[in-house]
Symmetry: C2
Subunit: 383 residues, 2 copies
Amino acid sequence: MNKLLILGADGYLGWPTCMYFSKRGYTVIAVDNYFTRNAMVELNCEPLIHPPNLIQRARLWEEKSGKKIIVHIGDVTDYPFLLSIFKEYKPDTVVHYAEQPCAPYSMMDRDKAAFTVKNNLISTLNIVYAVKESNPDCHIIKLGTMGEYGTPNIDIEEGWIEIEHKGRKDKFLFPRQAGSLYHTTKIQDTDMLWFYVRTWGIKVTDLMQGPVYGIYTDESREDHRLLTFFPYDEIFGTVLNRFVTQAVAGYPLTVYGKGNQQRGILNIIDTMQCIYLAAENPPRKGELRILNQFTEIFSINQLAEKVKIVGGKLGYNVKIEHIPNPRVEKEDHYYKASYSGLLKLGLTPHLLTDEVIEELLKFAERYKDNIDREKFYIGINWR
Amino acid sequence: MNKLLILGADGYLGWPTCMYFSKRGYTVIAVDNYFTRNAMVELNCEPLIHPPNLIQRARLWEEKSGKKIIVHIGDVTDYPFLLSIFKEYKPDTVVHYAEQPCAPYSMMDRDKAAFTVKNNLISTLNIVYAVKESNPDCHIIKLGTMGEYGTPNIDIEEGWIEIEHKGRKDKFLFPRQAGSLYHTTKIQDTDMLWFYVRTWGIKVTDLMQGPVYGIYTDESREDHRLLTFFPYDEIFGTVLNRFVTQAVAGYPLTVYGKGNQQRGILNIIDTMQCIYLAAENPPRKGELRILNQFTEIFSINQLAEKVKIVGGKLGYNVKIEHIPNPRVEKEDHYYKASYSGLLKLGLTPHLLTDEVIEELLKFAERYKDNIDREKFYIGINWR
């Protein structure tokens, strides 16, 4: 039976991934140090709903599905701990969600920046060493981000580019220049993984994911105690989830700057599919496989407009407000990014239909009393 | 009067740089935590000569030159310490030598790899934050390495490349893929600096330096107590310094693999010139200026052959031995790298003449009794 180790198993994507693989017959080992859960409390950015802790979640899942998820609470930057997990379970695949995944958090101050750098790079380094020491065949699936590419004036390819220069050719990592320190640590972890792939012949999949939206997966729809976090604040909330919550709260949708920034986004259901397809179809040894993970490209204005229209149908008078951009980013730019690798592996995209937005709005509506309007604008500034 | 802060001031390049700038009228503030000095002892890789500690060196320099070098012993990864130095002295320029600079060290085990990552990236991050908090006009000079580029099949440009792709163009950092974890951290610190240059408008010079050789600078030639370290071992010794010491010890020159690996190298005297030219000609705000810092390209075989010939003239029967390559690197490759930026700023190269090799051989000869042959081959393996 396949064994999957999920690091960062308590997070927005981590917990749904645990259930997704467990349901499909994998032995799932779930590890988390509750960093994000705790940081949300410390920064007064608690999510819309409060999921049970990881041990309780696993118990609920076992009651419901009859399948056991093994839980260990610990820190991936603690190498002896991590190595003991690898040696005990010998996973075939490890999914690395244990990086600090929040751009505004990484821009708040020196200490949070340093934490982001240390956590994200030492966790990745530890995984590489633990794989080498315990089972060099273990497939590392690392989450990257489309944000690593930034908004170049050329087409974004899937991880690699062949460059012809002065009559000679070579293939390189596609050039990267990201818009936050967090996104930059994802460039740095790719530098590191690419080095160890070449040097030690390990196998790595780097999933260049766009912003994820959504809340329900098949495993959680019927029992809300199994739902993942739904952050909607300026720090931890991704753009569409925040817009939906703002619409329900009667708060203007906060579009940063002109709103012509384009991003490739995807439904959380498709994240599950993508991770599963990557795990089921590992790369060969000595390969760094890079896949762009999104299903549709929209501008921020288009997303706001969609929420406004669907919100209107549900009786909400949704306003859109362009606020001064707290980030340093291009607001008008060329954007063409390819994404064929995951489709070839079998991904069936779930697109951002009006029904999907309606479902999200209704979810936010159900928990409307939990919304704290103060969280929508905190004022983290990049400058 | 110009103020220069040198971080890593006790190292092979750090101390000569202190004297070079002090002699030329700069107020020099020298900071070190003795990491390399201590690591050389811990790993039984002590250098050929034992220089006095930084406080003693500064005292000797003051006796000789009448100029004061201010010394603080502390760790650049300790942010409150570093910020206090920036706030107290408000340097115009900071030279960042405080990274762990040794490739074999970074490949020895997980702990040394993790130390290298944390030290090199947190030190760089701290400098960026300290500059922003104390004096955003301060010019950061960061040492990079030619090793970041690796050995691509296209010409190596000076830091940047314009890419034409599917009929569109953009300018990017020249693609990098290095041959050790240490070299990879230098790619990562460039990712980080480039992000903050774009976001905060700081000014940074990244000097892509090749392997440095040599011992004497004008400031140290007459008083050997002012000389820098001269490591000659497998871990800390750079290639030419190691060959020269091996020749004097009657130990075969240890060429890794075929020896056709080509590298751009430079004399320590030219490192001094390059740092000085960079400091005297800062980039504009919001610019990441990248300069390739070497003066000649040789293969490892060519270097060994040169030492053999000059050694022969001095009566040494120098043997060359090709040992299995402990590193993972191409042994036959295309190599063409440009280096015009520093020449344009006024660099007068000191080339690797027979006289220069002879002087180095005579230096090693003078301290022949200190040579420990066991240090030439320790067996650090990349795999």
